[in-house]
Symmetry: C2
Subunit: 394 residues, 2 copies
């Protein structure tokens, strides 16, 4: 997989007229660069430079103790050093004489922003007085293409992660009852994961994230002792890792009160608005559209129906990470930088995850996963069409 | 533990006349800042600022969806935002009006260098046109003191990790025989770890790291199918996590050949030189000495004995991470930046881990762990005094 990605990277460099991509990192167990998952698949300790050129050269300049480990993981020509990376790096630059060097930082894209500021200062101190200091740019576009364009194999791994996640949601439906706490539901899922030897797609303490009722934490929080009551909407945000690729999905349940045989109209309506917002956005999503425009389709559907807008993006990419960076289906908010204006490409895999609050009941939210095709998009997850109803129990 | 560390941090700010420490991060599951282990103990998704002042104020400016999670983990006043962190952050700076702001980057110290270059650019773009842009410095000294000075509780956790590691080394001695591979030995340790529910101190694929014979990878590499033969020196580099704190230890074994009852003199001598280099360095280690001087004691002992010098530092700090950053017992090599000149403080916990090659047999290396006291240092690991001999088997 790494060698496949390295070759894809060389292709992308040529496509974009870039003659060198340099990734500069150190102690990646402490401060990992997300791109190393794609171009190395291992950690290094000492300051290390991974260099790809448009001509197809793949060179790693690493500390002597890291050499064997790098050789074991990817097909680089490995150059070692003991006391300083500087001479070997400068010698290499002089030989290759790149006119443009893209390096691993980005204000927009977390997955392309793995270089620490200290490492940036170090690199620039090495390049001082050379012609290369003025040839530095961000590798954001290269990483975005490399991470975004999923191969058929990558899509199959994501499908596997989705399949396992949806099975666990079904198990929750069988098991969950009023009186259980968010903790209880999360523990049930964790136990099933352990039985199946599945790893969570993100931090275990928030994966699964379980939210019940009108006073829940909202999102990105750990499950609490809050008890599920009849009349609650519950939602779960959850994903698993499958052959190195992940899912990230949400489903919504409603707990019937005594005498209810369907949810109150307010709950039904909230759910339908979310479901239809996803349908509309998926109908609009295709190569060439800008991310903000897809977000706006869902956002407007929700606000037109009289609900407050969701305080986040409609969707993010999914791949080796649950938040896989780069092109985002997000509003034009400052915190998203230029990402709202990046264009959707075929092969990208996105979540679609709007939310709204149904007062007195909880948060209705669905998260589906779609892959962008040449002409539109295709659901990788079987979409939730109806709110899942749980009876009032004994 | 987090609240204890936050209060210690306020104390350190006052000690150093710093009125604000600002830690600026985002998507810390992808690009973690190592200092968050000490000041938050959780992850955040959106751009987030953690601010401590000399006056004892503890403020977190975080995305609305991260607010509850931050509240659940540490005692910050939490300020939320939806579309941009900039207005809330600037308002806060204006109110607190710091004369010096230290932020999370460092060319020297990985554990103080958690801010990505993209985040640095974002922060500086926010501060443009304010008086604060010119008041930015590195928080390296603050983080170094906060991470380095271990409390009694922290030392006890490290002792626990050491105890479990040494027990597993004893189990290896009982189990290992010529004809096993490095893989086999690593698998045996992993199985024991699973039985005891222990986590590795660093990446599982290199923890344990097992090296046997004259042609082994050296260090920082995954175990291979290389078979242990009589006449080999084997060493293992290994540690476990215990209540959030880790060990990092190495031991050396020798496999007797048919007819041998002790190792050849070359092996014995190599081992003794390493053991005595550690003894001498430990005798020299005390508060106020510079890191390079401690390294030099061990390095000179080894080169005076006619061996090549080891291609790394004598020792690093250990704590929540195996490589716990800051003051290092290292030579004055460029790649170590200014760290060789940082002064040892009481409460710091160091490894001592010189190595040398015995031609034709393998690498002799011992790694011990010591804590710096007011007057010297104390071994936390029971030192290896003799090479462990394994018989030639049946």
């Amino acid at each position: 997989m790494i060698d496949e990605k390295l070759n894809q990277a060389v292709h992308i460099l040529n496509e974009r007229g870039i003659d060198m991509w340099l990734t500069f990192v150190r102690e990646t167990s402490s401060t990992p660069d997300p791109v190393l998952d794609l171009i190395l698949g291992a950690h290094v300790v000492w300051p290390s430079a991974f260099i790809l050129t448009g001509g197809g050269e793949k060179i790693a300049v690493v500390g002597s103790l890291d050499m064997q480990n790098v050789r074991d993981h990817a097909d680089y020509e490995v150059v070692g050093y003991v006391d300083s990376i500087k001479p070997a790096l400068l010698k290499l630059l002089k030989r290759l004489d790149p006119q443009k060097i893209v390096i691993n930082f980005s204000t927009n894209d977390v997955t392309a922003d793995g270089m620490t500021h200290g490492m940036y200062l170090l690199l620039m101190s090495y390049l001082k007085g050379t012609p290369y200091a003025d040839r530095i740019e961000s590798s954001e576009a290269v990483i975005s293409a490399l991470r975004g364009r999923k191969s058929g194999t990558e899509i199959e791994h994501i499908r596997g992660a989705i399949r396992e996640t949806l099975k666990l949601f079904d198990a929750v439906t069988e098991h969950v009852r009023p009186g259980m706490s968010e903790f209880d539901v999360a523990d049930f899922i964790r136990q099933k994961m352990e039985e199946k030897n599945l790893e969570p797609a993100w931090d275990a303490d928030q994966c699964p994230a379980v939210f019940t009722g009108p006073d829940s934490a909202g999102a990105h929080a750990t499950p609490t002792g809050r008890l599920i009551e009849p009349g609650h909407i519950m939602n779960i945000d959850f994903g698993v890792r499958w052959n190195g690729y992940v899912s990230d999905l949400q489903r919504t349940w409603y707990f019937l009160r005594q005498g209810e045989i369907v949810p109150p109209e307010a709950v039904e309506n909230g759910f339908r608005v979310i479901r239809d917002a996803i349908r509309k956005a998926a109908g609009f999503l295709k190569p060439g559209v800008e991310g903000w425009a897809v977000d706006e389709v869902a956002r407007t559907h929700i606000t037109d129906a009289g609900y407050a807008e969701y305080p986040h993006a409609l969707g993010h990419q999914v791949g080796r990470k649950a938040h896989d960076g780069s092109t985002l289906l997000c509003p034009k908010w400052e915190r998203y930088g230029d990402l709202p204006h990046s264009k959707v490409e075929a092969g990208q895999v996105f979540t679609l995850e709007p939310r709204l609050t149904v007062p007195g009941h909880g948060v209705a939210t669905i998260e589906e996963i779609v892959v962008v095709t040449e002409t539109g998009c295709e659901f990788l997850s079987e979409p939730q069409e109806e709110i899942i109803m749980i009876g009032p129990g004994t």
